[in-house]
């Protein structure tokens, strides 16, 4: 409870410096997901694409059973296997997107925060432009123009995270580039590169990294949204896609809720863990609220 | 009420605390902000509570009024208002008293006035709440009060926001708010510290005039003895959560007993002195309220302290002068005091003329 409470930014100074049980629970879940994502093909799973037709059971979808833990979809494909495979794309995209965002956005942000001047003005304006599209709309616009492969979708979502991440990096850098130790370093004529790498980055990195998890949550949700709209990786098995498949017709949803509800559960728990862990980290490092 | 008050003003105190203790639970331990304070104010009288910041004077006023949060606070002792025990009342019960019977004027009018509410409304709302007036009546009354507190063109001011007023004006507004429902007890918490010197006098004038006209009692909290000098009947000097000296204003100024009070007196800015001349500051820090020094709490900073002071807490003793009590083993004028004073002056001379 204390974890929850302080994670909500509540004002108990005591709970602040502990990450708490909830945090580690979430980390545990995430670790499990990552493991699954990495090793799905090696796990003893049914094929996610095969159609397990069983005339004795009549027409698919088949309800959850010992044979199919999460039941099967309309095409008699194993929902459990598909859900686990779904973790792959969802997490890969989420992770690579936020990584790309942090590399590019972070660099630009630090640069403009440190050098100010035209770099700052240009990049800030670019950020504003990017932010003047609702993110999902921009994502749809871009995905509509490309072959939707794992790489491209990640890149698109990465692009989306540049602006918010960049702004943050810039703000953080601004704080530090005015600090004594940086000014001092400048006084003694240290090279900018040296100052950025040695003085700024270490200080900016900590708060930023605590936001990576939150950012990843956003990316995972965004990917899910695209997939749900049929705009994520083509032919790929993703949570969003699975949910859509199970809910496109209200009849399917009524007769076989398991098709969409198991993926929903996984997605929800994952996003929850990311948010929760991220939020705890943020309060732990005492970083200001941000909107990705 | 007048009859009772007439009686009250003569005989038993209008408001009094007996052994009032207010302690806060903190991560470090229990902080004794107010540690057994006993004071009385008679009707129409005003008491100045003086002390450095951290002496517990503000907490004292707030705990008398019952404004302190319930959790994390330990209260002991009693607060009696017109003979009734109010110390143990819940905020809900106090509401009828607040504004109607007691009011408070805060230190900084900028932060104490609602920035997004027209000042007029801030005055009228309590009128409408307590005296059940309708909007029109309330505005009328508010305007009158504004005139009383000498706010020029009140009708216009009523429709202005705090940020549109000068500091002095804001403070007048705050006083107006306090006076609105004609309370009988006013708490003024450093009412002038946030204002510049020229305005300070005006505000104090206004305050004392108001309580005099309305026959109110006032508890004026300040760190500046000079402020209370002209405007209060009695003075209580607080140090480390305790009252260390207490006397009618005149008596105190003529005949200081407590070296701490003396030090405070020396730190009063005087108009006679050129403003650049340094004031005699009291060396050292106010005591730690979580684990205060044994013996006299002022001893560590007291130039006249002796071993006794550090070992044994001085009792509250009555001075020869009327209604004058103090807590000191070696008060001003005592032989030990004089002896030490001579040494200090000699040392000052050798080190070249002191200040």
């Amino acid at each position: 409870m204390s974890a929850v409470n302080s994670s909500a930014g509540a004002e108990t100074a005591v709970a602040r410096k502990k990450l708490g049980f909830g945090f580690w629970l979430c980390i545990g879940w995430l670790a499990a997901m990552v493991f699954i994502a990495l090793f799905t093909p090696l796990l003893p799973l049914k094929s996610p694409t095969a159609n397990f037709l069983d005339s004795s059971q009549g027409r698919p979808p088949y309800s959850p059973s010992w044979k199919h833990w999460f039941g099967t979809d309309k095409d008699a494909r194993d929902v459990f296997a598909r859900t686990l495979y779904g973790a792959r794309i969802s997490l890969t995209v989420g992770f690579s997107a936020i990584t790309a965002g942090f590399l590019v956005g972070g660099t630009i942000g630090v640069m403009s925060g440190y050098f100010r001047g035209w770099i700052d003005r240009v990049s800030s304006f670019v950020f504003v432009v990017l932010l003047s599209f609702p993110s999902l709309v921009l994502a749809i616009l871009l995905t509509s123009l490309i072959e939707r492969s794992l790489l491209t979708v990640s890149l698109v979502l990465g692009l989306l995270s540049i602006a918010p991440v960049g702004r943050l990096a810039r703000a953080a850098t601004l704080q530090y580039s005015e600090r004594e130790f940086v000014l001092a370093a400048r006084q003694i004529g240290a090279k900018d590169r040296h100052i950025i790498v040695k003085e700024i980055l270490p200080n900016v990195a900590i708060p930023m990294s605590s936001l990576a998890l939150l950012g990843m949550a956003v990316a995972v949700v965004a990917e899910g949204g695209l997939a749900f709209l049929g705009l994520s990786v083509e032919k790929g098995i993703t949570w969003g896609g699975l949910i859509q498949l199970g809910s496109d017709a209200s009849k399917t949803l009524e007769k076989a809720p398991w098709i969409s509800f198991f993926p929903i559960l996984m997605l929800f728990l994952t996003v929850l863990s990311l948010n929760f862990a991220g939020d705890r980290l943020r309060t732990f490092f005492d970083v200001k609220e941000m909107t990705l | 009420m007048n009859t009772t008050s007439a009686v009250a003003s003569e005989s038993e105190p209008f408001i009094e605390t007996v052994g009032l203790k207010t302690h806060f639970r903190t991560p470090r331990g229990i902080a004794r902000a107010v540690d057994g304070v006993t004071i009385q104010i008679r009707r129409g009288q005003s008491l100045g509570v003086v002390g450095e910041s951290g002496s517990g004077k503000t907490v004292l006023s707030r705990s008398i009024m019952g404004l302190l949060p319930r959790n994390g606070v330990i209260r002991e002792g009693s607060v009696r208002y017109r003979g009734e025990e109010i110390g143990n009342r819940t905020p809900k019960e106090m509401r009828s008293v607040w504004g109607r019977e007691m009011a408070m004027v805060f230190q900084d009018p900028m932060t104490s006035l609602n920035p997004v509410m027209k000042v007029g409304k801030q005055v009228t709302e309590s009128l409408r709440l307590h005296l059940g007036m309708n909007a029109a009546e309330a505005t009328e009354v508010a305007e009158k009060i504004f005139r009383d507190v000498r706010i020029p063109e009140p009708s216009r001011r009523l429709n202005q926001y705090p940020h549109e007023l000068s500091g002095g004006m804001r403070q007048r507004v705050m006083i107006a708010i306090a006076m609105a429902c004609g309370p009988n007890m006013l708490f003024a918490d450093e009412p002038t510290t946030a204002l510049d010197v020229t305005v300070q006098a005006q505000i104090l004038e206004l305050l004392s005039e108001q309580i005099h006209d309305r026959n109110m009692s006032m508890l004026l909290v300040t760190h500046n003895l000079g402020v209370v000098a002209g405007y209060t009947d009695e003075i209580a000097v607080m140090y480390g959560g305790k009252v260390v000296e207490r006397a009618p204003t005149k008596v105190l100024f003529d005949n200081v007993k407590m070296p701490y009070t003396e030090a405070l007196l020396q730190s009063i800015p005087r108009l006679t002195q050129p403003s650049h001349s340094r004031l005699a500051m009291i060396p050292g820090r106010p005591p730690d309220l979580v684990n205060p020094p044994t013996g006299c709490r002022f001893a560590p900073r007291c130039a006249y302290a002796r071993d006794l002071c550090r070992s044994e807490e001085p009792p509250l003793t009555t001075a020869e002068t009327p209604d004058h009590t103090f807590a000191c083993h070696f008060p001003v004028g005592s032989p030990e005091y004089l002896e030490r004073k001579v040494e200090i002056e000699r040392r000052g001379a050798t080190t070249g003329g002191g200040n």
Binding site: N51, R59, D75, E234 | -
Partner: protein, 552 residues
């Protein structure tokens, strides 16, 4: 379910030449005799749920799909129509008699008929319509055989005319039972030339006339008080009809069950159980209308090579498809005829479910490292590169695509290409595809399916979608049409079936089932008769007729 629109898209949307078909199941599946239904009531508005909206309702140009035909049938009357016994009977026409050698047909029109705009119905109207239709790039292809560029027709009097088809065909009348037979007001056709938007406001002779239309929302027709058919085939009961295009089959069903619609059509067999369970619904299925099949562009590499086409067929799990997407409804198709058809060729079966065979063929083909004209490789790491196109967006269509991909992916690198219905058909017509899902064939008179098959219909824009040309086949088709040898017809058709199979241009999957479903408020769907009295079918491959319909 956009899927139906999609492949239907293919089959239906060029409904221009799709003749009505029917068989016993229509009447048996149809609702009961009027006596049980009680006395017909005049009045009421019928709300119809269609699988798609139409671009326009212009018989001379619009590509009319089932939905289009259903709407058109209400405003227009076809010259001829099918009786339940499968014979072609006159409808708007009085009669049509061939010359002994079938080279000339004399058409007599019904007297005293007028279009909704008052224009009298005469030979001139018919001629104008055929003239205009012939010049249409797509629909024209279907007309030209019957209406050549030169000396196509001779006018005898206002109600009599003589057609001179390109070659003798006994099927001419049956070709006039659908889009080609819908005669529109010449006045309107003239206006149309000036203002194409009038396409949306058809003017015909039909039992209902145009009232209002909001594209993709609702189209409203009202009773034609002056309908010529009233005294011949019975009065028009409905005050009005409202057509709602609802592409998603589930939504359509939901609306029907909620009572927001009175009657719908669908090919989504998954829904059939639901309909049967609900006693308040009446279900009418045409079992062997069109065939659903995979259609292959034989003019474009890699499928210009018959081995690759065979391989694709062998790699396809037809049974699996049937189990998943038909689930007991309809039947697997081997050819364009059902086993109970007299023309069924028992020796022709559609191959499938033979991965090894397929693997062998692919290995052989890719062994030759073939390249396309643009030099790009046709095989990548031992797999043939291909594109599967369907019309969407549609979840079912995507599921089917996934299914095929699962079948083929071991031998083919399948690229998915989801297109809007309009683009889908156009690309097929222009031959810009590899493999598509399609629905077609099953004409009541098999000869009428010739337009899909003849060499002459290959060109920039083709109706011979697979662009497969075989003289032998064309000869067969001529013979079949030739009235001179009726008794050889069965044999010839069976040869045609064999020929089609050997081309490997089609992978026959299932005989698709069309269902028309209506609530118990709706009556008289099957009480239709022709002017000369023979009973008519209740519905035709999802096409609905409403002049005998009444609401309780």
């Amino acid at each position: 379910m956009v899927f139906t629109v999609a492949c239907g898209g293919g089959g239906d949307d060029d409904g221009s030449t799709e003749p009505a078909t029917s068989d016993g199941t229509d009447t048996t599946g149809g609702s009961a005799a009027p006596s049980e239904e009680g006395e017909p009531v005049v009045g009421g508005t019928l709300r119809v749920g269609l699988e798609a909206d139409v671009d326009g309702l212009n018989p001379t140009a619009s590509a009319l799909a089932v939905s289009g035909l259903t709407m058109a049938q209400a405003v227009f009357d076809p010259l001829f129509t099918f009786a339940t016994d499968g014979t072609v009977v006159p409808y708007l026409a009085e009669s049509m008699t061939p010359s002994t050698d079938f080279t000339e047909w004399t058409l007599k029109l019904r007297a005293g008929v007028a279009f909704h705009d008052g224009t009298p119905f005469t030979v001139d109207a018919v001629i104008k319509q055929f003239e205009i239709t012939r010049n249409d790039p797509l629909v024209g292809l279907a007309v030209r055989p019957y209406y050549p560029e030169t000396d196509a027709v001779a006018k005898i009097d206002d109600l009599t005319m003589v057609f001179k088809p390109l070659e003798p065909s006994q099927y001419f009348p049956s070709a006039l039972t659908a889009q080609l037979g819908y005669i529109a007001s010449p006045t309107w056709l003239d206006a149309l030339a000036a203002d194409p938007t009038l396409e949306q406001q058809p003017v015909g002779t039909g039992p209902f006339q145009f009232d209002s239309r909001t594209e993709d929302s609702v189209t409203k027709f009202v009773r034609n008080e002056a309908w010529w058919g009233t005294d011949l085939v019975g009065p028009v009961y409905l005050d009005a009809i409202e057509f709602y295009p609802v592409p998603d089959a589930d939504t359509r069903t939901e609306l029907l069950l909620n009572g927001d619609l009175d009657i719908i059509h669908t090919t989504d067999t998954n829904q059939f159980e639901t309909y049967r369970e609900d006693t308040s619904l009446t279900l009418d299925i045409s079992e062997d209308g069109e065939e659903y099949f995979l259609m292959i562009n034989t003019a474009k590499a890699p499928f210009d090579d018959v081995r690759v086409r065979q391989a694709l067929a062998l790699a396809t799990d037809r049974q699996g498809y049937y189990d998943l997407f038909n689930g007991g409804e309809g039947q697997l198709a081997n050819q364009m005829f059902t086993p109970d058809s007299p023309y069924y060729n028992p020796d022709v079966t559609q191959e499938g479910n033979d991965p090894e065979g397929a693997a062998a063929l692919v290995a052989e083909y890719c062994g030759e490292n073939p390249v396309a004209e643009d030099g790009s490789a046709l095989c990548t790491d031992g797999k043939v590169n291909m594109e599967y196109q369907w019309s969407g967006p549609s979840v079912l269509a995507t599921r089917i695509a996934d299914f095929y991909n699962e079948n083929w992916s071991s031998l083919f690198n399948v690229t998915f290409d989801e297109k809007s219905q309009a683009d889908h058909i156009q690309e097929a017509a222009l031959g810009l595809y590899n493999v598509v899902g399609w629905r077609q064939f099953g004409a009541e008179n098999p000869g009428d399916d010739r337009v899909w098959l003849e060499c002459r219909n290959i060109g920039g824009i083709s109706l011979n979608w697979p662009r497969y040309c075989s003289e032998e086949r064309d000869a067969l088709i001529k013979e079949i049409a030739n009235p001179a040898n009726p008794d050889e017809r069965t044999g010839l058709l069976q040869q045609l079936v064999q020929n089609i199979h050997d081309s490997y241009a089609y992978i026959f999957m299932t005989h698709s089932s069309w269902a028309v479903v209506h609530t118990d408020k709706v009556h008289g769907q099957c009480d239709r008769i022709a002017p000369e009295g023979s009973p008519l079918v209740c519905s035709t491959n999802g096409r609905m007729y409403f002049h005998s319909t009444w609401l309780s």
